[in-house]
């Protein structure tokens, strides 16, 4: 995944064309991810470790299809639930109820299908009577609880988690972890970004380490976590 960083901040058409004509458009190439290849089988749970700016989120976004790789390709099968940010597909003027249908539709589910899951989603999210209030009046905890409930209730086959296990208060956190565990025992494939080797060891069977966009380790979760702890200590 390559980005062109614009050094001079050309942001209007006039400037752009003048520079285009003069051949003065300079970009610095920056590879956020390079030569990262791995395969996961159904039911694998892979932790993605790395320092800030290592390219973890870029990797997840590429897998979720939000970013298109400059070179190479990503192949995924099954329904993906990208939880890069909970409630990303929400419209703040819409009520919770309307957002459930909107959010599910972004994942490709019909109204009818969600109608069946509706009660389960609302109950799990603990939103209660606020479900008909506009989302903009929700607290951030309520938003992420609702987002989490929808994304997990539709029984996705691939879960992409960007440190979202810390949803809501302690009680809800426990509940959501239980739900994730039961999904994992049902054979869901998980990609999990975290800084905590403890969480990765607990959840995942595989792990990789990214450093400045490069894949530096790929293997069993316990081995890779041990290596990562060494890297952290050295730093």
């Amino acid at each position: 995944m390559r980005f062109n960083i614009n050094k001079e901040g050309v942001d209007n058409a006039k400037e752009y064309f003048i520079r285009l004509v003069k051949h003065e458009l300079h970009y610095t190439e920056f590879w956020a991810l390079k030569d990262v290849s791995f395969k996961l089988k159904k039911g694998d749970r892979m932790g993605v470790l790395g320092f800030n700016g290592a390219g973890k989120s870029t990797l997840l976004k590429t897998i979720a299809g939000v970013l298109k790789p400059t070179q190479g390709r990503v192949h995924t099968e099954g329904i993906i639930a990208p939880m890069l940010e909970l409630g990303a597909g929400f419209d703040s003027n819409y009520s919770g109820r309307e957002n459930i249908f909107l959010y599910a539709a972004t994942m490709g589910f019909s109204r009818k299908f969600i109608q069946e899951k509706y009660d389960e989603i609302v109950e799990f999210s603990e939103i209660g009577d606020f479900i008909d209030a506009p989302i903009k009046s929700y607290s951030s905890g309520m938003r992420s609880r609702l987002g989490f409930s929808i994304a997990t209730s539709v029984k996705p086959e691939v879960l992409i988690l960007d440190e979202v296990l810390s949803v809501g208060d302690a009680a809800f956190k426990e509940k959501s972890e239980r739900r994730l565990e039961s999904m994992m025992s049902d054979g869901v494939t998980v990609l999990y970004v975290s800084h905590s080797t403890g969480n990765v060891e607990r959840i995942c069977n595989k792990a990789i380490i990214l450093t400045q966009g490069q894949l530096v380790a790929n293997g069993d979760a316990s081995d890779v976590c041990a290596l990562y702890r060494c890297m952290v200590n050295e730093k």
Partner: protein
């Protein structure tokens, strides 16, 4: 080669089918949110064109003298043109800003991106269809009171031709504008001015016969390059001049506008597809 095109087409159709629910949800959302929190709600779809018609009719019939409005029942004439023109501008303007408005979603979830301009155009289309009821009410009003009655004939079904062409044209222009405005936001301001120019280039408040251009003259031909000229004329021919339909329905203009719309939509999709992967880096 043929097989490759076939598989590509199939995967596109499969993808569209998967996201058709989203398309519906987004169209619903655009319409629902437009008038949310306003007291009269969806009734504005009806009220807004009616009030604009009254203002324009008042101004052009009284201030600029009756001469400009003698052609037919002026309020109905005005309303026909404005409804169709407004559909075009609303659809294209919404499509233009659609990518930018949905930036937060585009950055977080994968959805085929053409869904955004497409849903904008379709929601404007639904609003337009609802607002057509104003036309029915206004025509009934004049006919019942016996002032300048409009004899609507079965030819009114021909309105479907200019309406569909306008829909395709709006989608094409909308895709082009959506793509360009991601890279150059300036286009949004420029297009507003362009729409004002278009408003006067299209016979909405005036009748082309009042322009003192000779039939077949250079000026009139230039005026007819604007596809909305033909679309508005066809729409009126079907609604107002059902009795002298063949005299008012211009076949050449029909083929011209249809071809124009199809070419625009092809260019629009081509431009959009070429650039859509770069959108996320600019919004």
């Amino acid at each position: 080669m043929l097989n490759r095109i076939k598989t590509a087409a199939r995967s596109h159709i499969d993808n569209f089918m998967k996201y058709r629910f989203l398309l519906r949800e987004l169209v619903n959302k655009n319409i629902k949110l437009q008038y949310r929190n306003s007291v009269l709600g969806i009734f504005w779809t009806f009220l807004q064109p009616l009030l604009t018609m009254i203002v324009l009719a008042f101004v052009f019939m009284n201030v600029f003298g009756k001469d400009s409005s003698k052609v037919v029942n002026y309020p109905v004439y005005l309303l026909c043109g404005r409804l169709l023109f407004n559909f075009y501008t609303t659809a294209t303007k919404r499509a233009m800003t659609s990518i930018r408005r949905q930036a937060s979603m585009i950055k977080k979830v994968y959805v085929p991106k053409y869904i955004y301009p497409l849903s904008s155009v379709l929601s404007a289309f639904v609003t337009f269809l609802i607002s057509l009821s104003v036309l029915v009410v206004v025509i009934l009003f004049f006919n019942l009171r016996g002032m300048d009655p409009i004899s609507v004939t079965w030819r009114v079904v021909y309105t479907i031709v200019p309406i569909l062409i306008t829909l395709v044209l709006s989608l094409g222009v909308g895709m082009i504008l959506a793509t360009v405005s991601v890279f150059f936001k300036d286009v949004e301001n420029l297009y507003d001015v362009f729409c004002l120019l278009l408003f006067y280039l299209t016979p909405i408040v005036y009748h082309p016969s009042r322009l003192n251009f000779v039939e077949g003259s250079m000026q009139l031909r230039i005026l007819k390059i604007n596809p909305l000229y033909g679309l508005v004329s066809m729409f009126r021919a079907a609604v107002i001049w059902g009795n002298e339909f063949s005299k008012n329905w211009d076949m050449v203009l029909m083929y011209y506008t249809a071809a124009f719309a199809v070419v625009t939509v092809i260019v629009g999709f081509w431009l959009f597809y070429r650039n859509q992967d770069k959108f996320i880096l600019h919004i």
